[in-house]
């Protein structure tokens, strides 16, 4: 990692236990602006916990998470929530769209919550649905669309507020190969265009291959691989 550039988001020596179960045991990583980083590792190694700590959803027992030059755990809760809404976007494996709203309304929702007027919010939501190639499901509710379409709507919703970091936890975990490929192509393509960094948790190598580099978590620790000189 280059030292001259200040990371956008950094975790230093994170520790986290759930009761007696250790989830993170000294995990560190740094993400630069606009970079796509895959977080890989066996099941239960602490990938999701790391992502949740980075996003300020889970507070680590020890260690620090810094976004720009601010320490997440030192922020008041309200400020941290505001940061999450304004600067971060989220895509999960499933279950993130509001079932009562149409896909268009789902994508417009973060803007509405930020106080953008309905017409403007829906205009921008429609643009993102088009960018994610799912304009045709705009008027449908999430229950009536396919898994791949639903994930593309979720990606549109994550991107609509122009976040600086997208957190994606197994975004293709419930999709078949072809749909997984499409979601990854569109997610990374749109994030790169928008200059958003992506923290992509996955245990699928073909999904991780869409990233710029990978970090491996084992037993709650991040492993950096230094390739031999050649």
């Amino acid at each position: 990692m280059s030292t001259e550039e200040q990371p956008l988001l950094a975790a230093v020596a994170l520790h986290k236990a759930y009761g007696a179960t250790p989830a993170l045991d000294g995990a560190s990583l740094a993400i630069r602006a606009g970079e796509v980083v895959a977080v890989m590792g066996p099941s239960g190694s602490g990938k999701s916990t790391l992502l949740h700590c980075l996003a300020g959803i889970v507070r680590p027992d020890a260690g620090a998470v810094r976004y720009r030059d601010r320490e997440l755990s030192a922020m008041p809760d309200a400020e941290r929530s505001a940061l999450r809404r304004g600067e971060f976007g989220f895509v999960f494996q499933f279950g993130q769209l509001v079932p009562e709203l149409t896909c268009l309304e789902n994508v417009a929702l973060p803007l509405r919550l930020a106080g953008v007027r309905r017409r403007e919010a829906e205009r921008r939501a429609a643009e993102w649905l088009a960018r994610l190639e799912v304009t045709d499901v705009a008027g449908q509710r999430p229950g009536g669309v396919s898994g791949g379409q639903g994930q593309r709507v979720a990606v549109a919703r994550a991107l609509v507020t122009a976040p600086r970091v997208i957190f994606a936890d197994e975004p293709t975990g419930a999709l078949d190969s072809l749909n997984g490929e499409q979601v990854m192509r569109l997610l990374t393509g749109a994030a790169r265009e928008a200059g958003a960094a992506v923290v992509l948790v996955t245990h699928e190598p073909r999904v991780a291959a869409y990233a710029d580099r990978e970090i491996v978590v084992r037993d709650g620790r991040t492993r950096e691989t230094v390739l031999a000189d050649r």
């Binding site: 066996p42 099941s43 239960g44 190694s45 192509r185 393509g189 245990h203 699928e204 190598p205 073909r206 991780a208 291959a209 869409y210 990233a211 710029d212 990978e214 491996v216 084992r218 037993d219 620790r221 492993r223 691989t225 390739l227 031999a228 050649r230």
Partner: protein, 218 residues
């Protein structure tokens, strides 16, 4: 797979006679195709000539099969370099990768590192193919996908092996035949002591490698 490098790894674990090297190699890596003695001794002659092994002892009676070989400093450096260097991702790598992991454990190295370095190399190629796919037409995409699925299969094997390193180390410790001691002991009879240093080393190596013992999902 390189017989020379495999011999060097086995010799780093402990000095051995040529026929012992052949036996361990055949058992461990031979896959039903035993080495010819000619191969064994020409390989050893080459390693000797390039200073990677030395003759550690000669039993009375002479002849090539009476020599016991030991690795030299230059040989250890060579093994270290080979194990640290990822293989070019390619079909039918399994023999080489398996040998590297086993020899890493037998020589007390961090076998998890060997797997990690290889995973990084595989993923690097997968990223290149993924970018090429994005710029290509359907034919390019299908060809790149073919390679990507195969590389992914290798990676699954690497991940599963990483999760089983402790188990592998234990198995190796109980199945690697101990080398015969020097000429004196060899003459004393067949009852050479079992469970020598290489086996003991293998057990600690996996722990130092920090492998999880967990199975990967899916």
């Amino acid at each position: 797979m390189s017989i020379g490098q495999t011999f060097l790894g086995l010799l780093e674990a402990s000095p051995r006679h040529g026929y012992e090297l052949k036996r361990v190699y055949d058992e461990r890596f031979g896959q039903g195709r035993p080495l010819h003695y000619g191969q064994v001794y020409s390989t050893l002659a080459r390693l000797l000539k390039s200073g990677l092994v030395s003759v550690d002892g000669v039993e009375p009676g002479a002849g090539p099969e009476r020599k016991r070989y030991a690795i030299t400093e230059a040989g250890v450096t060579d093994v270290r370099r080979w194990l640290a260097q990822p293989e070019k991702p390619d079909a039918y790598l399994q023999n080489t990768l398996y040998a590297k992991v086993v020899l890493g454990l037998l020589t007390g190295r961090d076998a998890a590192d060997i797997l990690d370095v290889q995973r990084a190399e595989h993923l690097r190629l997968m990223r290149t193919l993924t970018r090429r796919k994005a710029d290509g037409d359907l034919a390019d995409q299908l060809i790149c996908d073919f390679a990507l699925f195969h590389l992914e299969a290798d990676l699954r094997w690497l991940e599963l092996t990483a999760a089983r390193l402790d188990q592998l180390a234990t198995t190796l410790a109980s199945t690697t035949p101990a080398p015969q001691a020097g000429p004196a002991a060899a003459q004393a009879g067949p009852a050479a002591p079992q469970g020598g240093p290489p086996a003991a080393q293998a057990g600690t190596a996996a722990r130092r490698g920090g492998s999880t013992g967990r199975e990967v999902s899916a």
